[in-house]
Symmetry: C2
Subunit: 167 residues, 2 copies
Amino acid sequence: MIDLHADILEMDEHSAPEKQRLRLWLRLLKVSRYIESELRERLRKQFNTTLPRFDVMAALYRRKGGLKMSELSAALRVSNGNVTGIVERLVTEELVVREPIPGDRRAMRVCLTEIGRTDFAHMAAVHQEWINELLAGVSTEDAELVCQLLDSGMAADKNRPTGDKDD
Amino acid sequence: MIDLHADILEMDEHSAPEKQRLRLWLRLLKVSRYIESELRERLRKQFNTTLPRFDVMAALYRRKGGLKMSELSAALRVSNGNVTGIVERLVTEELVVREPIPGDRRAMRVCLTEIGRTDFAHMAAVHQEWINELLAGVSTEDAELVCQLLDSGMAADKNRPTGDKDD
DNA sequence: CCTATATATTTTAAGCTTAAACTTTTATGC
DNA sequence: GCATAAAAGTTTAAGCTTAAAATATATAGG
């Protein structure tokens, strides 16, 4: 008869593991939503672009050979149809090109244009400064520590056997 | 769209503070996106609902008196127009009611219906189990520690003086 | 009272996102 | 060769999200 109704009540420092993990989740959600919304707003105002476009360009940036549509959606872990739309808009902005692949008439290869590469390199540098600013309250040591704790904590989940070292 | 820029910038264990914070950000993003997508999928399959609807119901659940539309959008930190649409759908599902406020003909008060309260209580319990499962790799102590580190690190940013624990 | 401003909410336009259905092309089994 | 399955992409329908514009009401100042 101790703490039945515990979940309706306030969670304190000594609550059960489920409560503590729920707290952690709410905290993670809050921080990431805050940073994400800052990034979206800054990308929009300063570069007239969006986070999804930025993400697609980032994925293409380090594979100079380009990526197939399906490789792109796998790399970003979003649906195929999603990438179709984003790439379409990037094509009209001439930041990206989509060309057929010789051996396979189903597939398309997507690459950054020269303008796309230049634009992205610039944005990526500024982006890193933004993150540094937004997380300035976290010391380098703490950042390292949190990375490790989350890393080990999530390692068991849905491991994607992509083998990509850049995950 | 997780970890894209990871190796644009060759980060190693001993990199500069900006790199370490970028690493932290990419890690936070990855974890929260993973959990969020799990939650979305489970909410859809098991309760035929969505995360935004769940969030709205959660906000209403602990204020039995209900909330004005603007209070709701402030609590969830989303735009006004956003809440309009979600509440509309919840109304058609009869999980929520929207009634005029006596003194002010501009404002509306939103409340959970009886069905809404019952449904949400059930979902919330399952939701907590899901979080506990998804974060099972993180010990209670580590969860506590990460909460603290992120809390102090973000305290300076856009502080909302709401004092709400469930922000 | 009248005008200006602020507040509460909805509407609109554009884009993101997914699951599911669909089209086309390639690979496989007999 | 032919049927069938698998793979690559696109399309579609539904919903989420935001910023900006629009609507309606409330509040203040003169």
